[in-house]
Symmetry: C2
Subunit: 201 residues, 2 copies
DNA sequence: CCTTTTATAGCACAGTCGTGCTACATTCGA
DNA sequence: TCGAATGTAGCACGACTGTGCTATAAAAGG
């Protein structure tokens, strides 16, 4: 007695089952069997929607990327670049449960992509998207004398570092702490570049 | 015909075999069989040195942490905090092959530690060590009006973010790019805090 | 020289894995 | 109404896994 359901919904349900297993047990336990059990489906049924495990994994990661992209795109883009930057970054940092989950799944897949070519392509896509976003934010913010590309790299690294820290030590790097660090950084970007008094020995 | 070797050397060799397998094939392929083969030993022989796989993994991670700690401790600590900071951070960033390797292994284990309590303890140790180090560096550098704890968190996040980026996109985030970003950041830390002209709507 | 310890090797067991395959029920199109 | 398509389930195969166990050879200690 198969229930009739839009296959897109089933595929999303299975991707969400992947996310839950990855968060709870780790990516190494996200086997076809475990994911099917998590989604309350049989293995055979899962394989009706995904021909292989790697296809399932790629889809699960794809949904994460698309979700983030859409949430950013849906943000109101009023004129003030300062406020827009604050909003975008707040959307990117793992400040609430949903984004904490997204972030942890993303980190797990990022690590695996180091040795998995298929996932690497997706990871690079997300990475480039984020870098481009940082470039856009920085362009509207930086003070005189600052190198836009370098500041984009710095903001991007800060963002990813904070995301890792939020996942690793949520008790130390709390949402408020993340917000404070990012706010400071944005303020600073508006100041002119502080040229160095080089201490050479 | 067992060769006679200091067991400590064998254990280190096995740990290094773990590192190589992790970098080449991923942590999920670091099985006792694969690691034993990489070290040109039999499974039985490996298990003579490590009673279980988790013991082997914990040891492999422990060696990474100890290595980093020792290299930092061995740094000359001359008086100038600016130069010391530059040296410490250059030692921490994945700027050469050895540190690239260390970094990739560290990232793989960091990801797994999200769901493995034994590895988590080690990871947290490394994390706290790094945060404490950032606190020390920041203390000798920051300009007036800056919150030391927040700047330590910022430097730490920047450092970890750059490390991730160096692993993910070595072609974009090259050693020179990492150095430039860190140098900029250190210069900026010496400037007084730029108070915000808040744009409230 | 003989015994004990250490280092090495290899096998066997039980479990999990991905995937190919078959079977069956439901829904749909003609 | 009746085939075709679709959704669901489950089994079987071969491969890989961690670990317990035994065997053997070399070294160490008396």
């Amino acid at each position: 007695m198969p229930k009739v359901v839009d296959p897109r919904i089933r595929r999303r349900e299975l991707a969400e089952a992947v996310w839950r297993v990855v968060r709870r047990d780790g990516l190494e336990h996200a086997s076809v069997r475990n994911v099917a059990r998590e989604a309350r489906l049989s293995m055979g049924s899962l394989r009706h929607y995904f021909a292989s495990q790697s296809e399932l994994m790629a889809f699960a990661l794809r949904l994460v990327i698309d979700g983030i992209e859409q949430r950013i795109a849906a943000l109101p883009s009023d004129g003030d670049p300062r406020q827009r930057a604050a909003r975008v970054l707040a959307e990117l940092l793992p400040l609430d449960d949903q984004r904490r989950a997204e972030n942890e799944v993303w980190l797990a897949f990022t690590a695996r992509a180091m040795t998995d070519p298929e996932l690497r392509a997706l990871r690079d896509e997300g990475y480039d998207m984020l870098r481009a976003g940082c470039r856009g934010l920085v362009a509207g913010l930086i003070g005189p004398g600052r190198d836009p590309e370098r500041e984009a790299a710095r903001l991007h690294a800060l963002l990813d570092g904070l995301a890792v820290h939020a996942a690793v030590r949520p008790d130390v790097d709390t949402p408020d702490a993340l917000r404070a660090v990012i706010a400071d950084h944005l303020s600073e970007l508006r100041a002119p570049r502080t040229t160095d008094a080089p201490t050479r020995s």
